[in-house]
């Protein structure tokens, strides 16, 4: 086992991690640990754009953008954070442009902007062109540009190093009012080198988590195989709360059975949804705006058609996205990539055949709670010195209960940069926290147990059962019964997980072992998501309870905070403690969310 010492350690090399690294790397001795080569990160899959009120093509300003973000999140957004993000959006885009990002341009040569769902002028008066983009590869270009600049600044990467644990100590401390509490402090992380199977301890003054989302909890998802909620899981096990985990965004149009995303742009260009009877069913659910209703409404309508037996295909489990009334030339000009996905992966020719689609788990709004400086909180307001989180793993919270399209690529840049700056600044004056004794013990024990287990359970079997149960019960429709059903299975799977064994017993590139460890994170995330969904007895944004179909501001205008706590029980689930945290209001009072 080797021990490395850095001022700053960043975990994750997607957009958020590399944006942090560019800042931190120029100011402090920094290492980036990532389980994937940086350019393999899922930021590269983002299509649509990154928004900022540049006003390059029409009047716009950051205040309108703040309002849209707050309203889009169904008022569960912390408004101070949304303001910061909307204000700093403009510099975030300009930073990327100066780093070399090849944005699409207007005829005058300025960064071009286009419309996206929920982004409006003057508080909802009309759609506004706010999304900066590079064809339908905006995320790819952001990821490449950030990596290029990391190369430029000689950022030190440890590629294919899986972080599996965080080293943390607790100290006795006193609050201003004299009450005693345990102050958490971070000492470093434990990582597993894929190539050799060796454990490496990284001691650091500052640690930044930027490990992305957890979409693989679900079967149908637009997320990569590697998005298994590792960062959230590690924090959770260390007693750090997870905020608003009931809020997962399901994007209406994933390729059926695969989950691969077909951007909202398809419906923007005139595509419509049909059921097995050939009916344009959105006419019934949203008579005025029909197929262009907000993401959560369209996703629920689709799921309802399938539930009522009007789904298509051999298993009647999807609906159709119909582009056949559009001119092929129009499709080619506006939707080249996604129509190619339909051809390649489903063998469907969108010119002449409708494309099978179904809602796909897309984005986790919740995550590790932070303040606007990306500092991680151990409860509602106590900062853990030296610990930061940014990107999809974090919850600042700028997305509230529903993220607007193009706001995540923005989030990772704004708060990634802030995390890098905060981490370097803290490291400049702080001391190392002493490593606990046997720092690798938890991880080495876990790995040895997996490798030596003679258990009969297989990772792939448990994972499939988990994903199936989550899709069936915790997707766009939820109620007490469905959540109960999910919880019974999750608890059963958690038991069976103890009996999991891996076939690959080697040290080199043992991905079999890592899939087993990732499954552990997935099980934890599924449990928290379901518990938080059980706790929130209302419907808001991405969380829809059929037994509580309305938003209930009186009882639920607050963030949920789930803690791992062996002694607690929440909603009949032992081992989780549920608390709440007030929402921060600055300018806007809650209104009904109508478009």
């Amino acid at each position: 086992m080797q021990v490395h010492k850095y001022d700053v350690v960043i975990v994750g090399a997607g957009g958020a991690g590399m944006r942090a690294a560019i800042e931190s790397g120029q100011r402090a001795h920094t290492a980036v640990l990532t389980k994937l080569y940086p350019t393999r990160s899922h930021t590269g899959a983002a299509q649509g754009g990154m928004c900022a009120a540049l006003a390059n093509v029409e009047e716009d300003n950051w205040e309108w953008h703040t309002f849209d973000t707050v309203k889009g999140g169904d008022y569960l957004v912390d408004q101070d954070a949304a303001e910061v993000m909307a204000k700093e959006a403009i510099d975030a885009v300009l930073d990327l442009e100066k780093m070399g990002l090849p944005f699409n341009r207007t005829p005058e040569g300025k960064i071009d902007q286009r419309r996206f769902g929920g982004h409006t002028r003057d508080h909802g008066k009309a759609a506004v062109r706010r999304a900066c983009y590079a064809a339908d590869r905006t995320g790819h270009m952001i990821l490449q540009t950030l990596y290029q600049n990391c190369v430029k600044h000689n950022v030190e990467f440890y590629n294919e190093y899986y972080v599996l644990d965080m080293l943390m100590v607790e100290e006795d401390a006193y609050r201003e009012d004299g009450t005693a509490y345990k102050q958490k402090r971070v000492a470093g992380v434990v990582s597993y080198d894929l190539a050799t199977g060796e454990l490496h301890i990284f001691q650091a003054k500052s640690v930044v988590f930027a490990t992305g989302g957890a979409g693989k909890v679900f079967k149908t998802t637009s997320n990569a195989h590697t998005l298994t909620g590792d960062g959230m899981g590690i924090a959770f096990r260390k007693g750090i709360p997870l905020e608003d985990m009931e809020f997962v965004q399901f994007h209406p149009t994933g390729l059926a059975g695969l989950g691969i995303l077909l951007s909202e742009a398809a419906r923007g260009e005139g595509a419509i949804l049909r059921n097995s009877e050939g009916e344009r069913f959105m006419e019934r659910y949203a008579p005025t705006i029909k197929d262009l209703a907000p993401r959560d409404i369209v996703a629920r309508s689709m799921a309802n058609e399938v539930r009522e037996g009007r789904g298509c295909g051999p298993n009647k489990d999807y609906v159709l996205l119909d582009l056949t009334h559009l001119e092929p030339a129009h499709i080619d000009a506006k939707l080249p990539d996604i129509t190619e996905f339909a051809r390649t992966y489903l063998g469907v020719e969108p010119y002449t055949e409708p494309v099978p689609v179904f809602p796909t788990a897309h984005y986790v709004m919740g995550g590790i709670p932070t303040n606007i400086d990306a500092e991680v909180l151990q409860d509602n307001d106590t900062v853990i010195p030296g610990l930061y989180a940014a990107g999809e793993v974090a919850c600042v919270s700028v997305h509230g209960s529903n993220r607007l399209g193009t706001n995540s690529l923005l989030d990772i840049n704004v708060f990634g940069k802030r995390a890098g700056l905060s981490a370097a600044k803290y490291a400049a004056t702080a001391d190392f926290v002493e490593l606990p004794e046997d720092p690798e013990k938890f991880t080495s024990t876990q790995i040895d147990a997996m490798l030596n287990s003679t258990g009969t359970e297989r990772v792939a079997v448990l994972r499939k059962e988990l994903q199936d149960i989550m899709d069936a019960n915790v997707q766009v429709f939820r109620d007490k019964d469905s959540l109960d059903r999910a919880l019974v299975v999750i608890e059963e799977l958690r038991e069976r997980y103890k009996n999991v064994s891996v076939q690959d017993k080697g040290k080199r590139f043992n991905l079999d072992l890592l899939e087993a460890i990732e499954l552990g994170f997935l099980l934890d995330m599924a449990e928290v998501m379901t518990a938080a969904a059980m706790h929130r007895k209302e419907s808001r944004g991405g969380h829809y309870r059929e037994d509580f179909p309305n938003r209930d501001d009186e009882n639920f205008m607050k963030h949920s905070m789930s803690y791992r706590d062996a002694t607690a029980t929440t909603e009949g689930i032992s081992g989780i403690r549920m608390e709440t945290k007030p929402v921060i209001f600055t300018r806007y009072q809650p209104m009904e969310r109508k478009y």
Binding site: Y37, T39, R40, H42, G44, V93, L94, E97, K98, M99, G100, P102, N104, R105, G109, K110, I111, R137, H140, Q144, Q148, N149, V151, K152, A195, A224, H225, T226, L258, I260, G268, E269, G270, E277, G278, E279, R280, E283, C312, G313, P314, K316, L320, D322, H325, F341, T344, Y345, L346, G347, P354, R458, V459, A460, D504, G506, K507, R508, F509, D512
Partner: protein, 260 residues
């Protein structure tokens, strides 16, 4: 919406089969994988797996089926599973492709489908190679915008026409399918290889960049563009449809004329 479209019909007749019902077609394949497990066996060997697969399955699905249901030790990289992250370039029936973008039904399933690691990079285990030499060449061409002139307070302008000059090469996902299909690279590992040249092209032809001359000088090296023998393997292998050979030709031309 940019153009006014006629309102689509609120109900249409669907073709039989589209509306629902029926069986999902399956077929049988033999997946023949080149295994290399240095911890237990010194030499690489072929192993066959007989699998039943579905119509929309890709080579990656077949590999997953082996790993998840038959032999957990089979090792390969993958992440996005839809052709955007560049993790899973491999030799499939002798040609470099992404496993996640290659549908089984497009291959000849009457014969075994062979899958091997890409060539020219050190083999680590099964389908996994050491990517470091590949990224080393990439880093050597200085793959970042260099601009020593006046830093504007706002954005740098760029015309759509100037943007179009290098847009094709910005699509690269660094999968190494091109470089590891190049016969020159196989025999001379020092050669920069097509991917590095593609990424140099991306900056050399970017109107905002000032270091084109430096990059051209680097590629004018004996291990640079002149080693390219225009075999076109790279262009055929590129899963992003980048005109790799043309990009290399444009760089050669630029070195000769130093027009940038």
């Amino acid at each position: 919406m940019s153009t006014e479209l006629p309102e689509p019909a609120s109900k249409i007749e669907l073709k039989p089969g589209v509306g629902g019902g029926g069986e999902i077609p399956t077929f049988n394949i033999t997946l023949r994988v080149r295994r290399y497990t240095p911890e237990s066996t010194a030499d690489a060997y072929w192993e066959d797996f007989k699998l039943t697969m579905y119509g929309t399955d890709r080579v990656l699905d077949a590999l997953h089926k082996v790993k998840w249901e038959h032999d957990g030790s089979l090792s390969f990289r993958r992440s996005c599973a839809h052709g955007v992250c560049g993790s899973d370039a491999m030799r499939i029936n002798g040609r470099n492709r992404l496993a996640c973008k290659t549908l089984l039904k497009d291959l000849d399933t009457s014969k075994p489908i062979t899958v091997e690691a890409i060539k020219g990079l050190p083999l680590e285990k099964d389908l996994i190679v050491d990517m470091e030499p590949f990224f080393q060449s990439y880093r050597e061409i200085m793959p970042f915008l260099i601009n020593d002139g006046h830093e504007p307070s706002g954005e740098r302008y760029q015309s759509a026409a100037d943007h179009a000059k290098f847009e094709d090469t910005t699509k690269c996902i660094l999968c190494a399918a091109c470089t590891s299909s190049c016969p020159v690279f196989w025999t001379d590992g020092q050669y920069f290889g097509p991917a590095a040249i593609v990424n140099a092209h991306r900056f050399i032809f970017d109107s905002r960049d000032d270091a084109g001359d430096m990059r051209l000088e680097i590629l004018n090296d004996k291990e640079g563009v002149w080693r390219c023998r225009t075999t076109f393997n790279c262009t055929e292998a590129c899963p992003r449809g980048i005109q790799v050979t043309q990009a290399i030709a444009e760089v050669k031309q630029a070195i000769l004329s130093r027009t940038v």
